[in-house]
Symmetry: C2
């Protein structure tokens, strides 16, 4: 019987609450002969205030032995902006070479979108089908932390941020995106960049996108500038199938994608290292929401959908589908306010049932 | 009697058509004792194909003598991406130090937004009021063109893009945004950045935002990460009053703003140099739309609203308000398809009438 070693990083704010429900559903979904061994790591604002550390070397070392990581949320108003984000979340993504940041944008039946014409209406065949996935590059671009300041704190300060882009880094994420597009019914891949302004990085992305595309003649491709892409996200989201884009554009587009598909409470993500050399990490797209933390108000669905991605990644394809089906069913029948654990219980029951 | 020297750059695609209507309305709006002297410059794809030039030095020199510039749209599929954008449009913005890139996001009565709950419904008092303005920095950030490639064209290529940010550059746009916020009824200013990831530029923006804010105690402020801002643009656009942000984030947010306020056919912009040292430039946010060029299908309203901004900039405040009122009235009564020139005629008639 196989054992899964799962590292759990609940993090800050609502992280604790949503991760607890994710684990509940994971336990219910795994086949009986699979042993789940979880190790919890208390990282985030508390550790930072206690020790000044964000990710101790020893913890990073230990995490390498995990099969996967489940993360809740990182960030707290008591910590200066960027400290936990760069020192913990991005450090993990970079240290474990999570170059595929996978973020589905799917409007489940029964879910209300802020867009007109997307209402629940099983009778109407015109209901919009939003079902795409963003393949966001996770280890390059403006996220590398390369930059600095001169004459810091004065009226003559200059601050730079350098976006680093390599053929190697772009090629692997673009190839991954083509593979995903090729495996989907519509077989469509859209490159999003801003190659009319960021011409150096833009030309490189465009060249590699075209080059790799020759290996996938079955995939239809197009290109959109990031600004134009935001327009289509609200006017015609059904046009998208697979989108591949850089780290920063992917960050922006996936929050917008979450908004148009029913909100950040439902948006899942996987930080994937396909080689398996290091553990992949699954996390809801939402943040730590300190304003509602500890009140049992947070929707754990995004975490549960991230657990489905985790299952898929570990090879439990049927179980992943089961979790997604449980969420889909739950969303159709939702009514009235439920607490975080009530939603988790309902989903776990559906999965076991 | 005063003479206004207006430089006109129709540019590519639908640029010609929309600029013609903009000029029609400008002529109708200007007081009888004002002489309008227009000089048209044939810049864009045609010139580039003929001579390889995007903005000849002699033209740049001549443009300096104009009181303002009206620009249609730049860009054509026959020209490699970036050539006209960087060589003409951005060159003008940088050469004339257009550091205030002003872009209103206003939902006019009668205009359909893709967002639910924004429909035409004069009877319902719950109709959402979207009326904000984005003050986008126009001369710094990732737009400076600072970057390059190494091992170009090989599998070992590295491409960089450097975002340059100066205290001087940020301070002037932030101060402008505070002034605008202070002059509006709600007096609210939101800084949008990504200071949890782009920490060097982010800290500088945040420091200056707070520093300048001390001079404007009457202005309420808040901060949003750019990804979170896109969510609010679709779920709660009425929360925004004035937004100040960097060049790239401003580019992205203003296309999204256009989408939620009825589309890019209505979005106006001003590239402003408040010192008056160089002429300011007014242009619709939309592109050259080569797919519909020459068919009389383009909506000239965005250009006409840009003309209103131009009038305001030149001190014709009453005339600017008149043009905006004409657009507002026209939008309420619109029905059926009209050609580009029919819309222009209708607006000019309202303005003269
Ligand atoms: C918290 C932040 C560093 C992070 C990012 O920018 O990637 C978040 O917005 C996300 O999308 O996962
Ligand atoms: C055409 C392009 C260079 C330009 C920009 O990125 O600024 C456009 O998108 C805009 O918003 O005016």
């Amino acid at each position: 019987s196989r054992t899964i070693r799962l590292a759990v990083i609940p993090g800050d704010g609502i992280g604790q609450e949503v991760v607890a429900e994710g684990l509940k559903v994971l336990g219910a979904a795994l086949p009986a002969d699979i042993k789940l061994e979880t190790t919890e790591y208390d990282l985030g604002a508390r550790l930072y205030h206690r020790t000044g550390e964000t990710l101790p070397d020893s913890v990073l070392e230990e995490l390498k032995g995990a099969d996967a990581i489940l993360l809740g949320a990182i960030g707290d108003p008591s910590v200066p902006s960027g400290v936990l984000e760069r020192g913990l979340l991005l450090k993990l993504r970079f240290a474990f070479d999570h170059h595929i940041n996978l973020r589905p944008g799917k409007l489940f039946p029964g879910v209300k979108s802020p867009l007109a014409g997307t209402e629940i209406d099983s009778a109407s065949p015109t209901r919009r089908q939003i079902d795409f996935v963003v393949v966001r590059e996770g280890t390059e671009g403006p996220y590398v932390g390369n930059g600095g300041t001169l004459r810091t704190g004065t009226e003559h300060e200059v601050a730079t941020e350098v976006s680093l882009n390599t053929a190697y880094g772009i090629e692997r994420v673009v190839r991954d995106a083509y593979r995903r597009a090729s495996a989907r019914p519509r077989k469509k891949l859209t490159l999003v960049h801003k190659n009319n302004v960021l011409v150096h990085a833009g030309r490189l992305w465009t060249r590699i996108f075209e080059q790799v595309g020759r290996e996938f003649p079955e995939v239809t491709t197009d290109y959109l500038h990031v600004d134009a892409a935001t327009i289509f996200f609200v006017t015609q989201p059904e046009r998208f199938d697979v989108i591949v884009t850089d780290n920063l554009f992917g960050d922006i587009l996936t929050d917008l994608a979450a908004a148009v598909t029913g909100g950040i409470g439902l948006a899942a993500s996987g930080n994937i290292n396909p080689s398996g050399e290091f553990p992949s990490m699954f996390e809801p797209v939402h943040g730590s929401a300190p304003d509602i933390a500890g009140q049992g108000k947070a929707d754990p669905t995004a975490t549960v959908l991230s657990v489905a991605m985790l299952l898929e990644h570990l090879g439990f394809t049927a179980e992943a589908a089961q979790v997604e089906a449980a969420v889909a069913a739950d969303l159709t029948e939702r009514s009235g306010a439920r607490s975080t654990s009530q939603v988790g219980d309902a989903l776990a029951a559906r999965v076991s049932g």
